[in-house]
């Protein structure tokens, strides 16, 4: 039994495919031994700590086909290895899907956004410190959760949908994409799947070791955002301890179609309250057809946290989430 602090990259293979076919073949061949790398901002920490030990990295950022933002028949398609900075600064995204541009601009720090990719931000692993420390908890394949126990430190953990593991979805762009009703384009060497953003993420009761439905041989290649919610009224807010680097304590992404002060349709999604982005469908249906007002916002806020099950230290997320929903609906 020894303890040593590591911070240097371990010996590991690196593949840098330049075309899709090679990348998918590699993913297929290497399976669980291959680690997909976008910007690497959620990769190198794991590897340096020796807490995940894949045999090889497959770097995807040199595949031009999976990079960039383009218009498609219905909306836009963003390559999975497009950087967050490129998304935040892209005129097309800014003008039609400002929700995503704002969310991408709130991730981590400028340098991380400069290399961090959309795919990486969506697929990043849970940030629970026990898990990141390399403890053999449920999420790491063990049989215990250290965070959800009488004295566990769980200020940043889940209000909803916990099942043994109480980690939350750390992404800022994920709630935005769910609120935009985006579709994930997932490819493997044998097939391509189109998965609604909402179904892309998976909670611990269904899969305690993965945060998305991606299989070992699959790669998220692009995200398609339909025109349905283009130019809608958007609201994004991220509340974190620090205004740089930190993951959200709670974030919210919402799209509204408003006509004459009346909400015709809405999609409201909160992050960091559950292992997946939490879409507030009951709130959406409650406000549909209603006039925007302080009262509506307040009642919707209350409704948003029904069923919340706070842990020892995260009670504050209940009022915080209520307030963010309120602010979004108030507009």
């Amino acid at each position: 039994m020894v303890a040593t602090s590591h911070d240097v990259m371990p010996d590991i293979e690196l593949y840098q495919p330049t075309d899709e076919e090679n990348a998918l073949a590699l993913a297929n061949t290497l399976g669980a031994d291959g680690w997909l790398v976008g910007g690497g901002q959620d990769t190198y920490g794991w590897l340096k700590d020796r807490n995940k030990n894949p045999a090889a990295m497959i770097e995807l950022t040199q595949i031009d086909a999976w990079k960039g933002i383009k218009e498609i028949a219905d909306g836009i398609e963003i390559g999975a290895v497009t950087t967050l900075t490129d998304i935040a600064n892209n005129p097309l995204v800014q003008s039609r899907y400002a929700l995503l541009a704002t969310a991408a601009g709130k991730v981590a720090s400028p340098q991380i956004r400069n290399v961090g990719t959309l795919g990486g931000n969506l697929i990043q692993d849970a940030r629970c410190w026990y898990y990141r420390r390399g403890l053999d908890c449920y999420r790491a394949g063990g049989n215990i959760c250290y965070a959800d126990s009488p004295e566990g430190l769980n200020r940043e953990h889940a209000l909803f949908g916990a099942s043994r593991c109480v980690a939350v979805s750390p992404s800022d762009t994920a709630p935005a994409l769910v609120a935009l009703d985006a579709t994930m384009v997932v490819a493997s060497s044998s097939r391509e799947r189109l998965i609604p953003a909402q179904d892309f993420f998976v909670g611990p009761e269904r899969d305690i070791v993965n945060m998305t439905v991606l299989n070992d041989d699959e790669i998220l290649t692009a995200v398609r955002i339909p025109s349905t919610w283009a130019n809608a009224e958007f609201y994004f807010e991220k509340v974190a301890d620090r205004n740089v680097w930190d993951f959200a304590l709670v974030n919210i992404a919402a799209s509204f179609k408003v006509s004459g002060g009346s909400i015709e349709d809405a999609r409201i999604v909160c992050g960091a309250v559950e292992c997946t982005p939490r879409r507030l469908e009951s709130v959406e249906s409650a406000i549909r057809g209603q006039q925007r007002s302080e009262e509506l916002a307040a009642s919707a806020g209350e409704m948003a946290t029904e069923g919340a099950r706070p842990l020892n230290y995260n009670h504050f997320k209940v009022p915080l989430m209520q307030n963010l929903v309120k602010r979004a609906i108030r507009g």
Partner: protein
């Protein structure tokens, strides 16, 4: 293994004098890496501070590691080695980047600039360096090279930033001494003299 796979990391190169043998040895030692068996295969060329440098680079090697231990560019500091502080910030194609959190092999086609590359050939300091001196921006100085590089990146993209714009652009650099105010004074001064 699928023989059709392109293993692009095996780039052929020539052994050039860019990296002195001692510094390469240093890198292996400091990073605890095995000396590679396919030594020549891992020789890549990277463009650092306007010079093409041939370096033997392990596949997993971070840029900060290459810069510090192979090219002797110790101005790039490791404060945390995990993208949480910014002390290792360098410019990659003019974009501020944490050198501790990118692979050198991903930099093969990029233009890398470190704090050592900013001075003019005649020894004149870069406007940002001069601005930081004028305003006595650094305190302990450990984060300074990173702060300098972020500021240079900002001023290239936006030569006349507002103080708020400067603050947003510099936000990925921690200064534990808390010299943010003086760094912003330095950036504004640099924009003035630059």
């Amino acid at each position: 293994m699928n023989p059709k796979l392109t293993r692009r990391r095996f780039i052929k190169g020539v052994i050039a004098s860019g990296a002195a043998a001692t510094t390469t040895t240093m890198w292996y030692a400091a990073n605890g890496q095995d000396r590679p068996t396919g030594f020549v295969e891992r020789l890549i060329r990277i463009n650092v501070n306007g010079q093409e440098r041939s370096v033997d680079v392990a596949p997993q090697e971070t840029l900060a590691s290459t810069l510090r231990y192979k090219l002797g560019l110790t101005g790039t500091k490791l404060g945390c080695n995990r993208g949480e502080c910014g002390a290792c910030t360098v410019l990659v194609d003019d974009t501020p980047t944490y050198a501790c959190s990118v692979l050198t092999h991903s930099m093969k086609f990029a233009r890398i600039e470190t704090v050592e590359g900013l001075e003019a050939p005649n020894g004149d300091l870069h406007a940002v360096q001069q601005g930081f001196i004028d305003q006595l921006s650094p305190q302990c100085g450990y984060c300074t090279p990173g702060q300098v590089m972020s500021a240079v990146g900002l001023l290239r993209a936006n030569p006349n930033p507002t103080r708020e714009e400067a603050r947003q652009a510099m936000a990925g650099n921690i200064c534990r001494c808390g010299s943010y105010d003086s760094y912003l004074d330095g950036v504004m001064r640099a924009a003035e003299i630059g």
